[in-house]
Protein backbone atom coordinates (compact mmCIF):
# COMPACT_ATOMS: atom_id res chain seq x y z
CA UNK A 1 0.00 0.00 0.00
CA UNK A 2 1.29 3.49 -0.73
CA UNK A 3 1.65 5.69 2.28
CA UNK A 4 0.32 9.22 2.06
CA UNK A 5 3.31 10.75 3.87
CA UNK A 6 6.86 9.70 3.10
CA UNK A 7 9.55 9.34 5.72
CA UNK A 8 11.45 12.26 4.18
CA UNK A 9 8.45 14.56 4.68
CA UNK A 10 8.31 14.10 8.43
CA UNK A 11 12.04 13.78 9.11
CA UNK A 12 13.30 16.59 11.35
CA UNK A 13 15.62 19.08 9.68
CA UNK A 14 19.25 18.74 10.70
CA UNK A 15 20.15 22.35 9.98
CA UNK A 16 19.35 25.77 11.39
CA UNK A 17 19.62 27.68 8.11
CA UNK A 18 18.86 26.59 4.57
CA UNK A 19 21.79 28.69 3.37
CA UNK A 20 24.75 29.37 5.64
CA UNK A 21 27.90 31.04 4.35
CA UNK A 22 30.90 31.94 6.49
CA UNK A 23 33.78 33.99 5.08
CA UNK A 24 32.74 32.90 1.60
CA UNK A 25 35.03 33.96 -1.24
CA UNK A 26 34.51 33.07 -4.89
CA UNK A 27 37.09 33.90 -7.51
CA UNK A 28 35.99 34.71 -11.05
CA UNK A 29 38.66 34.70 -13.72
CA UNK A 30 42.25 34.88 -12.55
CA UNK A 31 42.25 37.57 -9.91
CA UNK A 32 38.85 39.09 -9.23
CA UNK A 33 37.01 38.01 -6.10
CA UNK A 34 33.37 38.45 -7.11
CA UNK A 35 32.25 37.34 -3.65
CA UNK A 36 34.75 38.55 -1.08
CA UNK A 37 34.27 37.42 2.48
CA UNK A 38 30.53 36.94 2.79
CA UNK A 39 28.78 35.91 5.99
CA UNK A 40 25.15 35.13 5.30
CA UNK A 41 22.46 33.00 6.86
CA UNK A 42 19.09 32.57 5.20
CA UNK A 43 16.12 30.55 6.39
CA UNK A 44 12.63 29.92 5.05
CA UNK A 45 11.04 32.93 3.41
CA UNK A 46 11.52 35.21 0.43
CA UNK A 47 14.85 37.01 0.43
CA UNK A 48 15.44 39.82 -2.04
CA UNK A 49 19.03 40.19 -3.19
CA UNK A 50 19.72 43.79 -4.18
CA UNK A 51 22.92 45.34 -5.39
CA UNK A 52 24.43 47.45 -8.13
CA UNK A 53 25.61 45.91 -11.39
CA UNK A 54 28.82 43.99 -10.91
CA UNK A 55 28.26 43.53 -7.19
CA UNK A 56 28.63 39.77 -7.54
CA UNK A 57 24.96 38.80 -7.31
CA UNK A 58 25.09 36.36 -10.21
CA UNK A 59 28.33 34.80 -8.95
CA UNK A 60 26.79 34.37 -5.50
CA UNK A 61 23.66 32.73 -6.94
CA UNK A 62 25.78 30.44 -9.15
CA UNK A 63 27.82 29.43 -6.12
CA UNK A 64 24.64 28.68 -4.18
CA UNK A 65 23.41 26.63 -7.17
CA UNK A 66 26.70 24.66 -6.77
CA UNK A 67 27.84 25.34 -10.35
CA UNK A 68 30.74 27.46 -9.10
CA UNK A 69 33.00 26.30 -6.29
CA UNK A 70 33.87 28.52 -3.35
CA UNK A 71 37.52 29.57 -3.36
CA UNK A 72 37.66 30.10 0.40
CA UNK A 73 35.37 29.97 3.38
CA UNK A 74 32.55 27.55 4.03
CA UNK A 75 29.14 27.20 2.48
CA UNK A 76 26.46 24.93 3.87
CA UNK A 77 23.24 24.30 1.96
CA UNK A 78 20.53 22.35 3.78
CA UNK A 79 23.19 21.27 6.25
CA UNK A 80 25.48 19.86 3.57
CA UNK A 81 28.91 21.37 3.12
CA UNK A 82 29.53 22.51 -0.46
CA UNK A 83 32.92 22.64 -2.18
CA UNK A 84 35.98 23.03 0.02
CA UNK A 85 38.56 20.27 0.21
CA UNK A 86 36.11 17.50 -0.59
CA UNK A 87 34.99 19.57 -3.57
CA UNK A 88 34.99 16.70 -6.02
CA UNK A 89 31.55 15.49 -4.99
CA UNK A 90 28.66 16.03 -7.36
CA UNK A 91 26.12 16.96 -4.65
CA UNK A 92 23.38 14.96 -6.34
CA UNK A 93 21.09 14.61 -3.35
CA UNK A 94 21.48 18.29 -2.55
CA UNK A 95 20.85 19.42 -6.11
CA UNK A 96 17.58 17.50 -6.22
CA UNK A 97 16.32 19.95 -3.61
CA UNK A 98 17.51 23.12 -5.36
CA UNK A 99 15.62 25.06 -8.00
CA UNK A 100 17.63 27.47 -10.14
CA UNK A 101 16.74 30.03 -12.79
CA UNK A 102 19.91 31.47 -14.35
CA UNK A 103 20.09 35.05 -15.51
CA UNK A 104 20.54 33.95 -19.10
CA UNK A 105 17.81 31.38 -19.41
CA UNK A 106 18.66 29.27 -22.45
CA UNK A 107 16.05 26.92 -23.88
CA UNK A 108 15.42 24.72 -26.88
CA UNK A 109 13.22 26.48 -29.42
CA UNK A 110 11.75 23.34 -30.94
CA UNK A 111 10.54 21.94 -27.62
CA UNK A 112 7.03 22.55 -26.36
CA UNK A 113 6.66 24.03 -22.90
CA UNK A 114 5.67 20.65 -21.52
CA UNK A 115 8.55 18.83 -23.20
CA UNK A 116 11.05 21.34 -21.88
CA UNK A 117 9.79 21.21 -18.31
CA UNK A 118 9.60 17.40 -18.56
CA UNK A 119 13.19 17.30 -19.78
CA UNK A 120 14.27 19.48 -16.86
CA UNK A 121 12.33 17.28 -14.45
CA UNK A 122 14.14 14.26 -15.85
CA UNK A 123 17.50 16.04 -15.45
CA UNK A 124 16.54 16.84 -11.86
CA UNK A 125 15.88 13.18 -11.18
CA UNK A 126 12.20 13.60 -10.31
CA UNK A 127 10.87 10.01 -10.02
CA UNK A 128 9.54 8.92 -13.40
CA UNK A 129 6.00 8.22 -12.19
CA UNK A 130 5.71 11.72 -10.71
CA UNK A 131 6.99 13.67 -13.71
CA UNK A 132 3.70 14.25 -15.63
CA UNK A 133 1.86 15.52 -12.53
CA UNK A 134 4.81 17.64 -11.37
CA UNK A 135 5.13 19.21 -14.83
CA UNK A 136 1.42 19.98 -15.03
CA UNK A 137 1.47 21.54 -11.55
CA UNK A 138 4.51 23.69 -12.32
CA UNK A 139 3.06 24.86 -15.64
CA UNK A 140 -0.26 25.72 -13.99
CA UNK A 141 1.43 27.63 -11.19
CA UNK A 142 3.05 30.01 -13.68
CA UNK A 143 -0.21 30.35 -15.62
CA UNK A 144 0.87 28.62 -18.81
CA UNK A 145 -1.53 25.66 -18.76
CA UNK A 146 -3.25 26.84 -21.95
CA UNK A 147 0.08 27.14 -23.79
CA UNK A 148 1.64 23.94 -22.46
CA UNK A 149 1.74 22.22 -25.82
CA UNK A 150 2.97 25.19 -27.85
CA UNK A 151 6.53 25.32 -29.10
CA UNK A 152 8.86 27.52 -27.07
CA UNK A 153 9.69 29.63 -30.12
CA UNK A 154 6.08 30.79 -30.34
CA UNK A 155 6.14 32.28 -26.82
CA UNK A 156 6.69 35.90 -25.85
CA UNK A 157 9.66 36.95 -23.71
CA UNK A 158 7.57 37.09 -20.55
CA UNK A 159 6.15 33.62 -21.19
CA UNK A 160 9.64 32.20 -21.72
CA UNK A 161 10.63 33.71 -18.38
CA UNK A 162 7.62 31.96 -16.80
CA UNK A 163 8.72 28.66 -18.32
CA UNK A 164 12.04 29.35 -16.59
CA UNK A 165 10.25 29.74 -13.28
CA UNK A 166 8.22 26.57 -13.97
CA UNK A 167 11.35 24.50 -14.55
CA UNK A 168 12.87 25.90 -11.35
CA UNK A 169 9.92 24.80 -9.20
CA UNK A 170 9.17 21.50 -10.95
CA UNK A 171 11.13 19.47 -8.38
CA UNK A 172 9.46 21.20 -5.38
CA UNK A 173 12.77 22.65 -4.22
CA UNK A 174 13.63 23.55 -0.63
CA UNK A 175 16.05 26.21 -1.83
CA UNK A 176 14.90 28.26 -4.82
CA UNK A 177 17.39 30.58 -6.52
CA UNK A 178 16.01 33.04 -9.05
CA UNK A 179 18.40 35.37 -10.88
CA UNK A 180 16.45 38.37 -12.20
CA UNK A 181 13.19 36.47 -12.73
CA UNK A 182 11.07 39.58 -13.35
CA UNK A 183 12.97 40.79 -16.43
CA UNK A 184 10.54 40.84 -19.34
CA UNK A 185 7.38 40.38 -17.26
CA UNK A 186 4.64 42.93 -17.76
CA UNK A 187 3.13 44.65 -14.69
CA UNK A 188 0.20 42.21 -14.35
CA UNK A 189 2.48 39.21 -14.66
CA UNK A 190 4.82 40.74 -12.11
CA UNK A 191 1.96 41.05 -9.63
CA UNK A 192 1.05 37.41 -10.20
CA UNK A 193 4.72 36.46 -9.81
CA UNK A 194 4.91 38.24 -6.45
CA UNK A 195 1.91 36.24 -5.26
CA UNK A 196 3.63 33.04 -6.36
CA UNK A 197 6.78 34.10 -4.51
CA UNK A 198 4.86 34.70 -1.30
CA UNK A 199 3.15 31.34 -1.69
CA UNK A 200 6.49 29.58 -2.23
CA UNK A 201 8.10 31.49 0.62
CA UNK A 202 5.90 29.85 3.24
CA UNK A 203 7.87 26.60 3.13
CA UNK A 204 10.85 27.32 0.85
CA UNK A 205 13.98 29.40 1.12
CA UNK A 206 13.64 31.66 -1.91
CA UNK A 207 16.49 33.96 -2.94
CA UNK A 208 15.51 36.43 -5.66
CA UNK A 209 18.12 38.65 -7.24
CA UNK A 210 16.63 41.78 -8.74
CA UNK A 211 17.24 45.32 -9.84
CA UNK A 212 13.72 46.38 -9.02
CA UNK A 213 13.38 47.71 -5.52
CA UNK A 214 9.57 47.60 -5.71
CA UNK A 215 9.64 43.83 -6.25
CA UNK A 216 11.46 43.53 -2.95
CA UNK A 217 9.04 45.81 -1.17
CA UNK A 218 6.04 43.83 -2.34
CA UNK A 219 7.13 40.23 -2.06
CA UNK A 220 10.13 39.82 0.23
CA UNK A 221 10.23 39.13 3.94
CA UNK A 222 13.89 39.99 4.07
CA UNK A 223 16.32 42.13 2.06
CA UNK A 224 19.96 41.35 1.43
CA UNK A 225 22.00 44.22 -0.02
CA UNK A 226 25.22 43.19 -1.61
CA UNK A 227 27.97 45.49 -2.93
CA UNK A 228 31.49 44.72 -4.12
CA UNK A 229 31.24 41.13 -3.03
CA UNK A 230 30.28 41.91 0.52
CA UNK A 231 27.11 42.00 2.56
CA UNK A 232 26.07 45.58 3.32
CA UNK A 233 22.67 45.01 4.84
CA UNK A 234 20.38 42.23 5.88
CA UNK A 235 17.02 42.84 7.45
CA UNK A 236 13.33 43.44 6.81
CA UNK A 237 12.34 45.91 4.06
CA UNK A 238 11.01 48.40 6.64
CA UNK A 239 14.41 48.67 8.26
CA UNK A 240 16.04 49.41 4.91
CA UNK A 241 13.35 52.02 4.19
CA UNK A 242 13.98 53.73 7.52
CA UNK A 243 17.65 54.29 6.67
CA UNK A 244 16.91 56.75 3.87
CA UNK A 245 16.13 60.40 4.38
CA UNK A 246 14.59 62.97 2.04
CA UNK A 247 18.09 63.99 0.91
CA UNK A 248 18.71 60.60 -0.73
CA UNK A 249 17.81 59.78 -4.33
CA UNK A 250 14.79 57.59 -5.03
CA UNK A 251 11.03 57.58 -5.53
CA UNK A 252 10.01 55.39 -2.61
CA UNK A 253 11.25 55.07 0.99
CA UNK A 254 12.86 51.74 0.10
CA UNK A 255 14.74 53.22 -2.85
CA UNK A 256 15.93 56.12 -0.68
CA UNK A 257 17.10 53.65 1.98
CA UNK A 258 18.91 51.65 -0.67
CA UNK A 259 20.73 54.65 -2.07
CA UNK A 260 21.62 55.82 1.44
CA UNK A 261 23.15 52.44 2.13
CA UNK A 262 25.22 52.38 -1.04
CA UNK A 263 26.52 55.89 -0.45
CA UNK A 264 28.05 54.82 2.82
CA UNK A 265 28.52 51.06 2.95
CA UNK A 266 30.63 51.11 6.13
CA UNK A 267 27.86 52.63 8.17
CA UNK A 268 25.40 50.08 6.81
CA UNK A 269 27.55 47.10 7.56
CA UNK A 270 27.61 47.83 11.25
CA UNK A 271 23.86 47.99 11.56
CA UNK A 272 22.61 44.56 10.53
Amino acid sequence: MTSAVSAADIAPTAYAWEILATGLKVRVGRKRMAVDGLDLSLGTGVHGLLGPNGAGKTTLIRTLATVLRPTEGTLELLGESVGGVAGMGEHRALRRRIGYLPQEFGYYKRFTVREFVEYMAWLKEVPKAEIPAAVQRAVERVGLADRADDRMKSLSGGMVRRVGIAQAIVNDPTVLLLDEPTVGLDPAQRLRFRELLQELGTDTCVLVSTHLVEDVAAACTDVVVFAEGRLVFQGPPDELASMGGPEHAGDSPLERGYSALLLNPEQGRGSW
Partner: protein, 282 residues
Protein backbone atom coordinates in the same frame (compact mmCIF):
# COMPACT_ATOMS: atom_id res chain seq x y z
CA UNK B 1 -9.55 -3.19 12.41
CA UNK B 2 -7.43 -5.31 10.13
CA UNK B 3 -10.46 -6.27 8.04
CA UNK B 4 -10.87 -2.65 6.95
CA UNK B 5 -7.22 -1.76 6.54
CA UNK B 6 -7.17 -2.23 2.80
CA UNK B 7 -4.58 -4.94 2.58
CA UNK B 8 -4.62 -6.51 -0.85
CA UNK B 9 -7.87 -8.32 -1.47
CA UNK B 10 -9.62 -6.73 1.50
CA UNK B 11 -11.93 -3.77 1.22
CA UNK B 12 -13.68 -1.27 3.43
CA UNK B 13 -16.94 -2.53 4.93
CA UNK B 14 -20.29 -0.97 4.00
CA UNK B 15 -20.51 0.53 7.50
CA UNK B 16 -17.21 2.34 7.07
CA UNK B 17 -17.93 3.55 3.54
CA UNK B 18 -21.32 4.92 4.59
CA UNK B 19 -19.89 6.47 7.74
CA UNK B 20 -17.14 8.12 5.68
CA UNK B 21 -19.70 9.46 3.21
CA UNK B 22 -21.81 10.93 6.01
CA UNK B 23 -18.81 12.42 7.80
CA UNK B 24 -19.13 13.69 11.36
CA UNK B 25 -18.17 11.68 14.40
CA UNK B 26 -19.44 8.33 13.13
CA UNK B 27 -15.96 6.97 12.50
CA UNK B 28 -12.92 6.96 14.74
CA UNK B 29 -9.92 8.95 13.52
CA UNK B 30 -7.84 5.86 12.80
CA UNK B 31 -10.70 4.38 10.75
CA UNK B 32 -10.96 7.61 8.71
CA UNK B 33 -7.24 7.55 8.10
CA UNK B 34 -7.25 3.91 7.07
CA UNK B 35 -10.22 4.27 4.74
CA UNK B 36 -8.74 7.37 3.08
CA UNK B 37 -5.46 5.61 2.44
CA UNK B 38 -7.38 2.65 1.03
CA UNK B 39 -9.60 4.81 -1.17
CA UNK B 40 -6.54 6.37 -2.78
CA UNK B 41 -5.51 3.02 -4.20
CA UNK B 42 -8.83 1.16 -4.64
CA UNK B 43 -11.10 2.09 -7.48
CA UNK B 44 -13.87 -0.31 -6.45
CA UNK B 45 -14.22 1.28 -3.04
CA UNK B 46 -14.23 4.77 -4.59
CA UNK B 47 -17.16 3.69 -6.77
CA UNK B 48 -18.95 2.34 -3.69
CA UNK B 49 -18.28 5.62 -1.91
CA UNK B 50 -19.73 7.69 -4.73
CA UNK B 51 -22.79 5.41 -4.82
CA UNK B 52 -23.18 5.84 -1.04
CA UNK B 53 -22.88 9.62 -1.38
CA UNK B 54 -25.42 9.74 -4.20
CA UNK B 55 -27.91 7.57 -2.32
CA UNK B 56 -27.65 8.81 1.26
CA UNK B 57 -25.97 12.22 1.51
CA UNK B 58 -27.61 14.85 -0.75
CA UNK B 59 -25.66 17.71 0.89
CA UNK B 60 -22.32 16.26 -0.21
CA UNK B 61 -23.69 15.29 -3.63
CA UNK B 62 -24.84 18.87 -4.31
CA UNK B 63 -21.49 20.20 -3.04
CA UNK B 64 -19.65 17.94 -5.48
CA UNK B 65 -21.93 19.13 -8.29
CA UNK B 66 -21.20 22.77 -7.44
CA UNK B 67 -17.44 22.13 -7.47
CA UNK B 68 -17.71 20.36 -10.82
CA UNK B 69 -19.74 23.13 -12.41
CA UNK B 70 -17.18 25.66 -11.12
CA UNK B 71 -14.27 23.63 -12.48
CA UNK B 72 -15.73 22.81 -15.87
CA UNK B 73 -14.92 26.09 -17.62
CA UNK B 74 -11.30 25.83 -16.41
CA UNK B 75 -11.04 22.23 -17.50
CA UNK B 76 -12.34 23.11 -20.93
CA UNK B 77 -9.62 25.77 -21.28
CA UNK B 78 -6.84 23.41 -20.22
CA UNK B 79 -5.61 21.30 -23.06
CA UNK B 80 -5.52 17.58 -22.32
CA UNK B 81 -2.06 16.14 -22.09
CA UNK B 82 -0.95 14.59 -25.38
CA UNK B 83 -0.56 10.86 -25.06
CA UNK B 84 2.63 10.05 -26.89
CA UNK B 85 5.70 12.19 -26.77
CA UNK B 86 7.68 13.06 -29.82
CA UNK B 87 10.76 10.96 -30.45
CA UNK B 88 12.99 14.03 -30.51
CA UNK B 89 11.96 14.87 -26.95
CA UNK B 90 12.86 11.37 -25.81
CA UNK B 91 16.11 11.51 -27.73
CA UNK B 92 17.17 14.50 -25.65
CA UNK B 93 17.95 12.16 -22.78
CA UNK B 94 20.86 10.88 -24.85
CA UNK B 95 22.07 14.00 -26.59
CA UNK B 96 21.38 17.69 -26.40
CA UNK B 97 18.67 18.71 -28.84
CA UNK B 98 21.14 20.96 -30.65
CA UNK B 99 23.49 18.10 -31.42
CA UNK B 100 21.59 16.50 -34.30
CA UNK B 101 23.11 18.80 -36.97
CA UNK B 102 26.59 18.08 -35.62
CA UNK B 103 26.11 14.37 -35.82
CA UNK B 104 24.77 14.72 -39.34
CA UNK B 105 27.94 16.62 -40.22
CA UNK B 106 30.14 13.93 -38.64
CA UNK B 107 28.42 11.20 -40.62
CA UNK B 108 28.64 13.27 -43.79
CA UNK B 109 32.40 13.71 -43.28
CA UNK B 110 32.80 9.97 -42.81
CA UNK B 111 30.88 9.22 -45.98
CA UNK B 112 32.86 11.81 -47.88
CA UNK B 113 36.16 10.32 -46.67
CA UNK B 114 34.90 6.90 -47.66
CA UNK B 115 33.91 8.13 -51.08
CA UNK B 116 37.30 9.77 -51.64
CA UNK B 117 38.99 6.58 -50.45
CA UNK B 118 37.07 4.43 -52.87
CA UNK B 119 37.64 6.81 -55.78
CA UNK B 120 41.32 7.13 -54.86
CA UNK B 121 41.82 3.36 -54.68
CA UNK B 122 40.04 2.94 -57.96
CA UNK B 123 42.21 5.35 -59.92
CA UNK B 124 45.37 4.52 -57.97
CA UNK B 125 46.54 8.13 -58.06
CA UNK B 126 47.75 10.65 -55.41
CA UNK B 127 47.81 9.45 -51.81
CA UNK B 128 46.56 6.08 -52.87
CA UNK B 129 47.74 4.03 -49.89
CA UNK B 130 46.55 6.52 -47.22
CA UNK B 131 43.08 5.79 -45.95
CA UNK B 132 41.14 9.00 -45.30
CA UNK B 133 38.73 7.08 -43.08
CA UNK B 134 41.70 6.11 -40.94
CA UNK B 135 42.94 9.68 -40.98
CA UNK B 136 39.68 11.21 -39.79
CA UNK B 137 38.44 8.50 -37.46
CA UNK B 138 40.00 9.81 -34.23
CA UNK B 139 38.82 13.41 -34.56
CA UNK B 140 35.22 12.81 -35.61
CA UNK B 141 33.83 11.75 -32.21
CA UNK B 142 35.83 14.53 -30.56
CA UNK B 143 33.75 17.08 -32.45
CA UNK B 144 30.55 15.39 -31.33
CA UNK B 145 31.67 15.25 -27.71
CA UNK B 146 32.56 18.92 -27.82
CA UNK B 147 29.13 19.76 -29.18
CA UNK B 148 27.43 17.83 -26.40
CA UNK B 149 29.04 19.83 -23.61
CA UNK B 150 29.54 23.26 -25.01
CA UNK B 151 28.51 26.72 -23.95
CA UNK B 152 28.16 28.01 -27.50
CA UNK B 153 26.09 25.16 -28.88
CA UNK B 154 23.85 24.26 -25.95
CA UNK B 155 21.67 27.23 -24.98
CA UNK B 156 20.63 25.57 -21.73
CA UNK B 157 24.20 24.80 -20.64
CA UNK B 158 23.96 26.64 -17.35
CA UNK B 159 20.73 24.93 -16.40
CA UNK B 160 22.19 21.58 -17.39
CA UNK B 161 25.26 22.17 -15.25
CA UNK B 162 23.11 22.85 -12.19
CA UNK B 163 21.00 19.69 -12.20
CA UNK B 164 21.67 16.55 -10.14
CA UNK B 165 22.07 14.45 -13.27
CA UNK B 166 24.89 16.69 -14.53
CA UNK B 167 28.36 15.34 -14.16
CA UNK B 168 30.25 12.33 -15.34
CA UNK B 169 27.17 10.18 -15.89
CA UNK B 170 25.54 12.65 -18.27
CA UNK B 171 28.85 13.34 -20.05
CA UNK B 172 29.34 9.61 -20.59
CA UNK B 173 25.75 9.18 -21.74
CA UNK B 174 26.18 11.87 -24.38
CA UNK B 175 29.62 10.57 -25.34
CA UNK B 176 28.19 7.08 -25.74
CA UNK B 177 25.47 8.38 -28.04
CA UNK B 178 28.07 10.22 -30.14
CA UNK B 179 30.13 7.04 -30.40
CA UNK B 180 26.94 5.11 -31.13
CA UNK B 181 26.50 7.17 -34.28
CA UNK B 182 30.14 7.61 -35.29
CA UNK B 183 31.43 4.06 -34.74
CA UNK B 184 28.88 2.31 -37.01
CA UNK B 185 29.57 4.89 -39.73
CA UNK B 186 33.31 4.28 -39.40
CA UNK B 187 32.73 0.54 -39.26
CA UNK B 188 31.09 0.69 -42.66
CA UNK B 189 33.91 2.92 -43.92
CA UNK B 190 36.61 0.68 -42.48
CA UNK B 191 35.01 -2.44 -43.90
CA UNK B 192 34.65 -0.88 -47.34
CA UNK B 193 38.26 0.29 -47.43
CA UNK B 194 39.69 -2.78 -45.73
CA UNK B 195 41.30 -1.02 -42.73
CA UNK B 196 41.76 -3.14 -39.60
CA UNK B 197 39.12 -2.27 -36.98
CA UNK B 198 41.56 -1.86 -34.06
CA UNK B 199 43.65 0.48 -36.18
CA UNK B 200 41.00 3.18 -36.19
CA UNK B 201 38.84 2.22 -33.22
CA UNK B 202 41.63 2.49 -30.67
CA UNK B 203 42.78 6.01 -31.71
CA UNK B 204 39.11 6.99 -31.93
CA UNK B 205 38.38 5.90 -28.34
CA UNK B 206 41.70 7.23 -27.06
CA UNK B 207 40.99 10.67 -28.49
CA UNK B 208 37.50 10.67 -27.02
CA UNK B 209 38.79 9.75 -23.57
CA UNK B 210 41.56 12.36 -23.79
CA UNK B 211 39.05 15.04 -24.77
CA UNK B 212 36.96 14.26 -21.71
CA UNK B 213 40.02 14.12 -19.46
CA UNK B 214 41.36 17.46 -20.68
CA UNK B 215 37.83 18.82 -20.74
CA UNK B 216 37.52 18.36 -16.99
CA UNK B 217 40.46 20.75 -16.61
CA UNK B 218 40.18 23.38 -19.35
CA UNK B 219 36.63 22.83 -20.65
CA UNK B 220 35.43 20.26 -23.16
CA UNK B 221 35.19 22.60 -26.16
CA UNK B 222 38.71 23.97 -25.65
CA UNK B 223 40.05 20.46 -25.21
CA UNK B 224 38.40 19.31 -28.42
CA UNK B 225 39.74 22.24 -30.43
CA UNK B 226 43.26 21.72 -29.02
CA UNK B 227 43.24 17.99 -29.76
CA UNK B 228 41.90 18.47 -33.26
CA UNK B 229 44.69 20.97 -33.91
CA UNK B 230 47.31 18.59 -32.51
CA UNK B 231 45.92 15.81 -34.67
CA UNK B 232 46.05 17.98 -37.78
CA UNK B 233 49.63 19.09 -37.08
CA UNK B 234 51.12 15.78 -35.96
CA UNK B 235 49.30 13.23 -38.10
CA UNK B 236 47.22 14.66 -40.94
CA UNK B 237 49.76 17.15 -42.31
CA UNK B 238 52.78 14.77 -42.37
CA UNK B 239 50.66 12.00 -43.83
CA UNK B 240 49.31 14.09 -46.65
CA UNK B 241 52.72 15.63 -47.27
CA UNK B 242 54.60 12.32 -47.31
CA UNK B 243 51.82 10.42 -49.04
CA UNK B 244 52.02 7.45 -46.68
CA UNK B 245 50.39 6.49 -43.39
CA UNK B 246 52.05 8.22 -40.43
CA UNK B 247 53.72 6.07 -37.80
CA UNK B 248 51.00 6.94 -35.28
CA UNK B 249 48.42 5.14 -37.38
CA UNK B 250 50.37 2.00 -38.22
CA UNK B 251 49.82 -1.23 -36.36
CA UNK B 252 52.95 -0.81 -34.20
CA UNK B 253 51.46 2.41 -32.77
CA UNK B 254 48.54 0.56 -31.23
CA UNK B 255 50.04 0.00 -27.73
CA UNK B 256 50.63 3.74 -27.42
CA UNK B 257 46.97 4.42 -28.28
CA UNK B 258 45.92 1.81 -25.73
CA UNK B 259 48.04 3.53 -23.08
CA UNK B 260 46.52 6.92 -23.95
CA UNK B 261 43.03 5.44 -23.68
CA UNK B 262 43.72 3.96 -20.22
CA UNK B 263 45.32 7.23 -19.05
CA UNK B 264 42.38 9.24 -20.33
CA UNK B 265 39.84 7.01 -18.59
CA UNK B 266 41.88 7.15 -15.39
CA UNK B 267 41.97 10.95 -15.37
CA UNK B 268 38.23 11.14 -16.15
CA UNK B 269 37.39 8.88 -13.21
CA UNK B 270 39.76 10.67 -10.85
CA UNK B 271 38.31 14.07 -11.71
CA UNK B 272 34.67 13.07 -12.13
CA UNK B 273 33.41 15.97 -9.97
CA UNK B 274 34.72 18.50 -12.48
CA UNK B 275 31.90 17.87 -14.95
CA UNK B 276 29.17 19.18 -12.68
CA UNK B 277 30.42 22.77 -12.56
CA UNK B 278 30.40 25.51 -15.17
CA UNK B 279 34.14 25.17 -15.92
CA UNK B 280 33.67 22.03 -18.03
CA UNK B 281 31.46 23.95 -20.48
CA UNK B 282 34.16 26.29 -21.75
Amino acid sequence: MSGERGERGEHASARIVEGYARGGAGLAADEVWAVEAHLEVCRGCRDRLSAAVGAGVPAVASLVDTVWSGLEPQLAATAPMPRGRRWSARLSRWMTPTMVPWLAMVVAVTLLALLLDLVGTGSGSGSGDVSLVLLFAPVLPVLGVAASWSRGLDPAYELTASVPRAGLQLVLRRTASVLGVVVPALLVGGWATGVMVAQWLLPCLAFTATTLALGGIVGVTRAAVALAAVWAAVVVAPTLAAGRTAFALRADGLPAWGLLLVLGIGVVIARRGAYSVLGAHR
